[in-house]
Structure formats: C-alpha cells, structure tokens
Amino acid sequence: MSFTAAKRALLAALEAGDIQHEAREVLSEKNLLAVGDVSVEEVIAVVRRARGHDYSTSPHHWNADTEVHLLRPIVDGTSWYVKAYFLEEPAGTAVFISVHR
C-alpha cells in the first residue's frame, strides 16, 4: 500500500469511527487514543499533516501478511508516533497499536 493510500484509508477509518486498539490481554496506556488522552480529531489532524518522508511500513510480527503503517510527523514542534494496520486490506477497520507524542 502506498503512503497516499494508507493515509487516505486511515483518515477514512478515523472519520467513520471504524477503529479498534490492539491488546495483549492488557491494554497499553501508551496508546493515548485508546485511553482517551488524545481525541480522534487530534489524530486526524496529525495524520493529515503527515508527509511521505514521515511514513514507513513493515510486516506485523504476529502476521507477516499484515502491513503495519507508521507515521512520525512533527506537528507544531511535537513529534507524533502513530502505528496502525488494517484488518482487511486495502482498507476497513483500522487497528491502532500505538499513538503517542
């Protein structure tokens, strides 16, 4: 999936509220979106500000067929880290692994 396609799909999922958060029996509080420390609107703004050089991708280590999308834009001097994947490519429910500053 290209950066543009990943960004578009992430924004679509966020705007539709079609998002989940990865858990490993416990939920990580480093996922600030999951625990409500940052809002969906804030993450939408962060994703919108991301550019191609802020983006990287890698296979999920639990399932090599799942592509993990990592965005690390700097917004108003703050570095963001947004890591998510889609349960069904090329779009659908976005599952966030981590959202933090």
Binding site: A16, G17, D18, A23, V26, L27, V35, G36, D37, N63
Partner: protein
C-alpha cells in the same frame, strides 16, 4: 461512531498466532498500569479467551476510569462548630450535603491556587477563634491530584497548611453566604450547589 454489539464476531491479530476469530464481550479490562476497568466491550479470541482488541466505543469508559483513579481523598480534622457551618451553608443553598462539602472546599482551594488574595484570606480566617477550637471531627474530601499538587504549592509559598486552608475555606463560605454575602460569589456557590 461505529457501535459493535455484544456477541458480534470478527477477526483480530493475536500474539504469535496471527489472525484469529474473535467475539465481542463485556469483560473487565486490565490496563498496563494495573487499573481494572469494569464491564468494557472487548474482542476476545474465541479459542484462548484472551483480550486481543478493544473497540473505539470503549474509550470513554476507559478514560473516565483512569480519571477517577487519579482522584484522591484527603482528610482534615476540624472543630464541630465548623462542621455546623458547613451544614448551615449546605442548608441555606439547598445543596446535597454528601457531595456539596467536597465541591465547596474544592472551589475555595481552587480560588486560592489562582488568586493569592484568596490564599491570604483563607490563611487569615484559619486563625479566627472559631477555627482554633478543638478539632473533634474528621472531614474527608475528594479532590483530583492536579488540584492537590497546586494546593501544595500554595502551602509552600504562603506558609500555610492544607488543614488551615480547609478551615479557612469553611469560614470564607460562612462570610460569603451569611455574614457579608456578595451577589457574584453567592451566584457561584448556588451554581455549585445545583450542579452536585
């Protein structure tokens, strides 16, 4: 917001196993700080029963549970006469006494952290004879950690204890409601009384 109903089935990634079938159920969810949030909708792996995903609709509940966990209670000993003042203020404003006392004291403490004049007023009132009587009853109050941290700064800045600030707050309420009522302050206190 997409709302998932209990019993809905789907898929999610599980540690070391990749995609697995899940069913959404209301369960107690543990956060990595150890906090347990009751009755949260989560996606559970059908075979191992482990929690592997949390839908967006559970976030407000998790957020509120974390905020509540940050709230602290603190207790101060006060004279019985000051307790009567609190009951009197509560009665006068038609408030629910179980929640109003904390809200009233929090209001004055918050004012003292924002306004040095209020901090000085509470300190001065804490030396009044009514506040100096034997403290025979315990007042337990709820507050959030951030307010208590700011109160701590007032304590250090103005050389006053938290107990003194609370005793001063009770007497400030007495002045503002009974002795020298001012329209604006009374309106604030009435708004608090109605809100709790």
């Amino acid at each position: 917001m997409k709302i998932i109903e209990e019993g809905t089935r789907g898929v999610a990634l599980a540690p070391e196993r990749g995609k697995v079938p899940v069913v959404f159920e209301y369960r107690d969810l543990t956060l990595d700080s150890g906090l347990v949030v009751r009755d949260v909708l989560v996606g559970v792996a059908e075979d191992t029963r482990e929690v592997v995903t949390v839908p967006a609709q559970s976030t407000p509940r998790i957020r509120l549970a974390r905020q509540a966990a940050k709230e602290e209670t603190f207790s101060v000993r006060i004279p019985l006469e000051l307790n009567d003042v609190l009951w009197g203020v509560c009665y006068e404003l038609g408030a629910n006494p179980t929640k109003f006392n904390s809200a009233l004291i929090r209001f004055y403490l918050h004012e003292a952290t924002d306004d040095r004049e209020m901090a000085r007023r509470l300190k001065k009132l804490s030396t009044a004879s009514l506040a100096g009587r034997a403290s025979k009853t315990k007042l337990t109050l709820r507050s959030d950690a951030s307010l208590l941290a700011r109160v701590k700064q007032v304590e250090e800045r103005d050389g006053v204890s938290r107990s003194e600030l609370v005793r001063g707050a009770v007497l400030a309420a007495k002045e503002d409601v009974f002795d020298r009522p001012r329209k604006q302050r009374l309106a604030q206190l009435r708004a608090i009384a109605e809100a709790v």
